[in-house]
Point group: D3
Chain length 317, copies 6
């Protein structure tokens, strides 16, 4: 085989899928972001969760299930490994006993990645992680547009009196000036609520909510077209909470809500990001203890691959 | 906090969702129906089942999973706990060794509830329970209209020679004069059959069957509009067998059938009952041993909450 | 009960569903194909798999879960047990240590079945089995048209250097002259790919690919109409890989791909085969270790029953 | 291979262990007891249970897991299939809706078996089944000695007011004159109790109780020697409730109690029955839903094989 | 039934075991400690864990599995409900986002319980909880003797730099003057270690370590006799980490270690506490996500009942 | 921290246990054996299995569960990472479709490892792998003594007619001159047998069999003393089939047999190898699909660590 200019996932001809050290997609592990175009980073955190925990094991299981993903996207003809240098940067050494400290640890980990111009695709971990990631990204890029897929708006002010938790990241991010609030799109919101004022704060900031009920039985291709137009060439972050998807497809999560998006809709959303100026993305809230055979983690691993496929410099064959 | 006129679910600010004694939605337990507008009642029965058992544990698991449900319906803006007094009345002490005795025990439990004017939302338990509940309700209200969601018509005459079992409740209910047979709507019927005459008896009584195949890929909003018109202001019972829903969404049940309703369709059915004169409802056939992580029970808990949200006196904000 | 001209599944009146020796649908076991019109055959093979194994236990679990299926199809009014003689022929004694030998063993088992004019419905086992079955069938019938439901095209030339594996059966079948390549329809293809040339070989042979993305949110009734027209009265084989269906419905398989067909679509495909000249069918890749409560196997059992319902001589009431 | 005088389990050379119709040990199914020396009979009953149900599926799962058991006992050198004719007689068609009727059905099934001189080894099903089996056996043999392994004495008078349930069989058997009460040995009793008088009735009848605490850390070889001496040449029944064994070894049961027997102790008990005049045996209370990977059922299958190995006419090589 | 002077668990004659609101042992829930002799308290905490989380759900699952425990101890003839007033006090509203705050919350909850003279039996939750419980108890009783069953000594100084976590409670308790360090007995220690100095600190304080290896194959009756002599009439706390027991018996925990105590040994330890002046006890580290069928929680529930049975004022019949 | 002369497992202070790329014990991955004293090697093979498959995923799950193992052995005071250079060499790229080819692939992988003087500790994979490993080792070291822990002797001549399978490795190894047959000790043999001559061949070669029954209730310290004397200073291989251990402790395997060794006995065996001249070891037959929460894999990971602790050059503190 002739020398490849870019890293490639270990193929099934070199090593059967059951073997090999399980990095994301069996890509090389990299100790530094230097020279990369994009990277995968794991964040093994679950102490921001409110109902069922377990997401600290998400990165390990997503990587383990990712071994079956091959380098080309047969649906879109994306060829990320022909176009950019990608590696697995390993995990952030978070402090599960101290959430405020963890916010600082994550931000510190991402700064050199972002400064190097690398696009991070993060594997959660609970949704708390999006706040420090947005801090690191907006410090370089300025306030970002955001597409946020989730059952929950995650804009609470406090959870059990605390400012840092998996239900508050986007409130904190707005307060921290990380977001362009007129270009935040929350897709898949649903479920019971503590008050009907829950969504008002987000609405007042200028967020656009697309409830799950509006998506039922619909293709989301049109929705994404509209969102792309509204975002234009702004820099964008994509935050994907696996509980945006219906529990039939993704049971392994801590705060499931019935009546969610289908996986085809999830794919339409991510594939619909093609052409946007994505500077980062995450897939969060995969809880392996509730997913013993890896269905949810495997779904997350595929969605992370689809995110990679729509990064700005990726070639399409 | 100022005094509430009505019971409210214990909130996550008072107690984390992992804690608290698990009544339905962490509502207060009530020893008597007095003063209530609606109530939840569990019926831990499974000896009416024909294939896999386990539904006797349904009420306990539905309550355990219900702890995440919050008081307001963000989709419909229903505010049941601002409008009516709701409590958990606990479980009926059924006799799993003797089905005919259990029919009497259940009916005796429901009579004072019904006489007090309380709307019971019952957590099964196998479908046998609907017969004695209908007896108690129709004794007060006269024959009822019924919306029945299920994979099976449950109008067999005998099962293994016995008149009381989970496949016979509506045959017995018709014989007992509990139903207005021209206003019975069975939604989601499907699967293999012992004879093609299976559905004839129901048809002859005047029941309307809406097969699952007719629902595939459809919104059921229109269907429910038609049903509401046909029922008008008659008193109605809603009986929801969780196996009406496809096993992808609700695997934890004893007689699953492939090709069933989706959860969005289930929500359209229940939300489509708004405006009807509901006098009772049940959610049955949740079998926890086949649902170790509670997905099915959680779905059932949410459907029971949605039933509460469409009761006649519930306010919408 | 008066004598039946044809075998019938053991009914729940004779034996509760939890009881009885678990042949397919609790039909009689037959030691020879003589006198049968159709039969079920199990092939407990998994050494052709590439990612997760376990399909060797597929036939046993499909039979165990099939006990709930009753003799009539309430959706289509098919009455197979009123029309043809059906039995369970048991399992092929495959050699899991030697795939080339297994190909010969399977072909040898099927030859007398096919020669007797019996239509085999095969319960896999991994997809390797379709190659020797096609060999046996085409030896009698000549090259066959084929409807192939699957996430993967299974037309690789080699897997880890080997010609016989679960990713190569249809390459081998084409080379062996078993297929009418202009009448091969592959439905449900999707997922990541080793190269974008993956599907070229199939396309060059004349295969028609219907990707999963083309099916999302669509009824497949029209698709099947077109396929029936294109096939006409040619002899047809139906090969159904359970991973054609989305993992939400069928998690118990070894190489799942997200974004697959729904079960209603699967039923539309099989029911859409009515009128075709089916000479054989299979349902493959059910992996029980990833399906501890039998949901996937139960789905497969129902699909096998639906296949039986569309065989040429089956009566519709 | 030359003709065998006796049935033999299907070997792994004839059929891989994953294949073959799953009768007990892959022995031939027999429609009648005629000509047999011993037989396996399944009883798919669970409506006699008090806590968790599921034992109706016990016979099917025990058979499925029994496929790995080979014909010779390497520990004791027993060769049952060289000595007696053994077959699987299938299941009793019990009525799960009516326990008193089921008692009659079981007794009627066993009478011709017993009359033919066949020793039945029964696969439960809940412990209710031992009562009608003892009725059928004692009708022919007169009152029997009994070795009973269990966490519970099962001598309650009523459960929820009913005389027939899984906690009452030996009370009913004593009343029915089926037992020689001075030769009843109950091994493994333990757990919490409704009253401390629980065991008094049994004691007054002359039963000998060997509590689990007396067995902790002990070999039971000596205990069995003493029991054999006390029983002498009386006819004996062996009733083995899987919950006699600790839940670490056998979690799949409905009323587990911690601190139970080990499997080596269970084997010492059964192997210690060699030389006794056994006329029947059962293994009961295996509940497959709590045993998704078959560990408990596999243990039960092995214990049933060990029971076969100590039947009076079995040769030892 | 005549009036009982003391609360009793709801019996199976009043309500089948599958029914009833699941308090501990189906005892009454009490809103205040007033008038009680002993109580059960749940602490739904898991953010002190280091490897796998999930213990926040421990109290709920222990209660759910406790429904099968009956009021008398058939092994020891203890009759706690004939002797003292017992109730379930519900759960402490811990703050899973803030461990130091949670220490204060727990201590504040226990102070009035302890001041009222009630003996608390606590249901964890991770082992962090023992520190604030010991603070509350020692504030009233002075420094306590302690019997501590665990795979780990839990005397680390810091975990990931933090002073409060599930590996530090007894370091903090010694520093806080809560323990009589010459009367601390740690039973079941084992496993790999970060340094071999791990156990030195404890040794220097005067703790006595009994390693699991010393217990293998031994009855612990003699060990407990020695411990009772050394403790004499000092006030004692019993802290029982479920991972002290081998994972074969108790897999549902976050930091399992192979080669642990057996359940009979665990029972010998707790029953060996009879006669000691116990002022409190806990059972911690039950992690329900790793225990889907409740075996571990059921074991914990039984151990908590056994703890109740050895409290100072309990009568033995 | 000062520079370490040897590789060390990543500590929990550097990275929480839930994080980090999962090599064995979170040791560095090494691309070559150069400079190592010992190494871990995975072999993801399962096509040599006869009953249930799944062991191809063993290496990945053993590594994933190994993350909790710390560098020192608190029981024996072994300090392997203070004494020798250890790394994870990754997996052998076996061919699951072709067992004879795989034997050659494995042998070729091990030759340079062995030639470099590195002691390989292998993570299976099914037991087939021991044959090529023994070939590679004996080529350098000459015929080896062997301690073999297993339920089965694995000395069959053919399985389904094939010479290479998981039941034949030691027959082939004897034929290949890899073993000193008078110094082979097989511990834990038990279960049913195809013929009672099964063990004769091994006996005739001079193998010593220690049946599980001989071990029940015994410490194996004395047995190992005797074995060490008989082996003396010969070079030794340790082959440990996880099914040697009882399924209560290690359910995740394909051919379990009841009545096996306890984990304390397993530890006594491995720790009893201290002082022997070990040149290689393996732990095989871990089947993750039957071990969804990793208990079996975690046990295997610990046993592999204990093997490392008894290698010749390991220091004891």
């Amino acid at each position: 085989m002739m020398a490849q200019p870019y890293n490639r996932p270990l193929s099934a001809v070199e090593m059967p899928r059951a073997g090999g050290i399980s990095t994301m997609m069996r890509l090389p592990f990299a100790a530094s972001p230097e020279g990369l175009g994009a990277c995968f980073i794991g964040i093994p955190l679950d102490t921001g969760t409110s109902n069922r925990s377990g997401t600290r094991l998400g990165p390990r299981q997503i990587r383990a299930e990712s071994v079956m993903i091959r380098p080309y996207n047969s649906a879109t003809r994306a060829a990320p490994f022909d176009s950019i240098q990608v590696a697995d940067l390993g995990d952030v050494a978070v402090n599960n006993y101290n959430l405020p400290a963890t916010v600082d640890i994550i931000e510190a980990f991402y700064r050199p990645v972002v400064d190097e111009g690398v696009v991070p695709i993060s594997l959660g971990g609970d949704h708390t992680i999006s706040y420090p990631i947005l801090k690191a990204l907006s410090r370089k890029h300025g306030p970002l547009a955001m597409i946020h897929v989730d059952a929950h708006a995650d804009v609470a002010d406090r959870m059990f009196g605390e400012p840092i938790a998996h239900g508050t990241p986007f409130r904190r991010a707005v307060e921290g000036g990380c977001l362009q609030t007129d270009a935040v799109f929350q897709i898949g919101l649903r479920g019971s609520a503590n008050t009907l004022e829950d969504y008002d704060w987000a609405h007042k900031q200028g967020f656009t909510a697309i409830r799950a009920e509006q998506c039922w039985g619909q293709s989301l291709v049109g929705l994404m077209e509209g969102i792309r137009q509204r975002i234009g060439d702004r820099k964008v972050y994509l935050s994907f909470d696996i509980d945006g998807i219906d529990p039939a497809f993704a049971p392994g999560t801590g705060t499931p809500e019935i009546g969610g998006l289908t996986v085809p809709q999830a794919l339409e959303i991510i594939r619909g990001c093609r052409g946007l100026n994505l500077v980062g993305a995450d897939i969060v809230e995969v809880s392996p203890p509730y997913d013993p055979f890896g269905t949810t983690a495997y779904t997350a691993a595929n969605l992370a691959f689809e995110m990679l496929c729509v990064l700005p410099k990726v070639a399409y064959l």
